[in-house]
Assembly symmetry: C2
Homo-oligomer: 323 residues x 2
């Protein structure tokens, strides 16, 4: 089962959302439009729009509303990517040069602001204050997640608890909100909305854990950026936390030393190998699977309809994917 098959029934709607994204970012300002369209052209899984579309089918969906909310969420996501690339000093994303690499940090900062402003303008189409409240709360939490990520950089003493808290803010909340808002704008029952919200949270957590594993196991080409980037840039993820806790002191010290040198040592390949053979990947996979099962379990509470199957298949794909 690949993403293409799962997305099949939504193709037309996703194409319309794609057009909507380009339109939302249209500007008579060539630089702004180029920088933000650059990111759109690089593609992406558009997983947030997909969750919006599927969640909406459990109520009385209006495609216009689902499309708008999907555009808002994808734009917020894109804005954080552009600012993230400035913070991480990243050169490539999705196999293409980042905005900060192709232009510069200043343009990237402003493009992020611009994309966010476009999201807010699209959001104006909604009267329901609950939507505004959910999203603004979410954005605050995302900022907290970002700051936490900076504070935790190159720290060898991170706990799993801390890691989970961080990926929740960094990734899971926006996916959770995608499911919840898709339901909300389609007037599902309160109970269905909460189920979809929980599903989104669990699968968002699993999604980020797998992303963090792939940074160790994927190739540069599969990832669209250099493999091992996380460790190099000091983003201490689950496999590393596990390795630090379970390896013998000699190997442990090699990781600690690497982190202490803040990515400036030339033994990245060696340290990556230590982490890969520590059991950390398997541990992270197990935890991702636990979150997958939680996600699948809550789906049982939804009415039996084909979108429930799609949500199940996407969840399974997310945890099994290799890109």
């Amino acid at each position: 089962m690949n993403l293409q098959t799962i997305y099949r029934g939504m193709k037309k709607n996703l194409r319309e959302i794609e057009t909507g994204l380009f339109e939302a970012l249209k500007s008579d300002h060539i630089e702004l439009q180029e920088a933000s369209h650059h990111l759109l052209h690089a593609g992406g899984k558009r997983i947030r729009p997909v969750f919006v579309l599927l969640s909406g089918q459990f109520g009385s969906p209006s495609f216009a509303q689902l499309k708008s909310i999907a555009i808002v969420l994808e734009l917020i996501h894109m804005a954080t990517l552009v600012h993230d690339d400035v913070i991480d000093n990243a050169e490539t994303r999705r196999g293409k040069p980042t905005v900060k690499a192709k232009w510069d940090n200043r343009i990237a900062l402003l493009s992020g602001d611009y994309i966010l402003a476009c999201a807010l303008q699209e959001l104006c189409k909604f009267q329901d204050q609950r939507i505004h409240r959910v999203l603004s709360h979410e954005m605050l939490e995302m900022c907290r997640g970002e700051i936490e990520q900076i504070r935790d950089l190159y720290q060898a003493e991170l706990t799993i608890h801390r890691y989970l808290q961080r990926i929740k803010r960094k990734t899971a909340l926006l996916i959770m909100v995608s499911c919840q808002l898709g339901a909300m704008v389609s007037q599902t029952s309160e109970q269905v909305e909460q189920v979809l919200r929980s599903y989104g949270y669990y699968i968002g957590m699993a999604f980020q854990m797998i992303d963090d594993i792939l940074d160790f196991t994927g190739t540069d080409k599969e990832l669209g950026k250099p493999a091992g980037s996380d460790l190099k840039t000091g983003n201490v993820t689950l496999p590393v936390i596990y390795a630090l806790k379970h390896l013998d002191p000699v190997k442990r010290k090699q990781i600690v030393d690497y982190l202490a040198h803040k990515g400036q040592s030339d033994n990245l390949t060696e340290v990556l190998e230590i982490v890969k053979t520590s059991g950390g990947i398997e541990f992270a996979n197990q935890l991702a699977n636990r979150y997958l099962h939680k996600a699948l379990a809550v789906l049982d509470k939804l009415p039996k309809q084909k979108e429930r199957d799609s949500l199940q298949r996407i969840a399974e794909f997310i945890v099994k994917r290799t890109y």
Copy 2:
């Protein structure tokens, strides 16, 4: 007439808004709170809250609503300042080190995002979609203004028209919106709202022109940042545009050369002197006064009440101020 005298009747309300600003930026995240409170502690004229408060008095104001909208506007303003300092690589603002100087660019970028998210959360208190529309449109325009400013950096061939367009987006629109929203949340008549909006636009334009003049005529201490910063960082303002157009070719060439070296030459003092004696300061002052008179003229259309006098006095203060 100084600002203290004009503000006198609003002291209590402004103090409450000040407390509200600190509360809006409260976080159990020490870094986020410290970085954003740092900016609050540095002070500022709080001119946007003042315009909100005064404009509201022409309708049926609720202080709670005026306070909220004032907080939203001041936070948006602050968020742009923090991001501006990253873009301009500025070390001091209001006599204190900038967030990017005291922490770093990454924290500054995220603090800006955080302050904006706090603004959006405060904004959630409002149901009226018109408020959301006005503000999101405004934020898009501000982004455009920022990008224009970057594109225009160190350009010797700028027109006055271009300068006016840039300061409109950079400054005038947010002041315009402050007056308009103060009126809107207080249910003034449509006509009064439009008058206040025009007043805000004119006085916002004059405000920025004077700011740009003070960068030439003020001292480091008065400005809270090094005098001549604009020219050094390539921000070509009205006095320079005038000088480039009216000076003899020899002096003109000195300015052009300075700009061509992108602030890396050591003859800043000399070039500043050339601009100061070119007649450019007087010209900019005249133009600021023209906008002042437009602002005063529209005030005549407001009902005669003490807030109209206050708006008049603030307008006059803004153009005569030396800090």
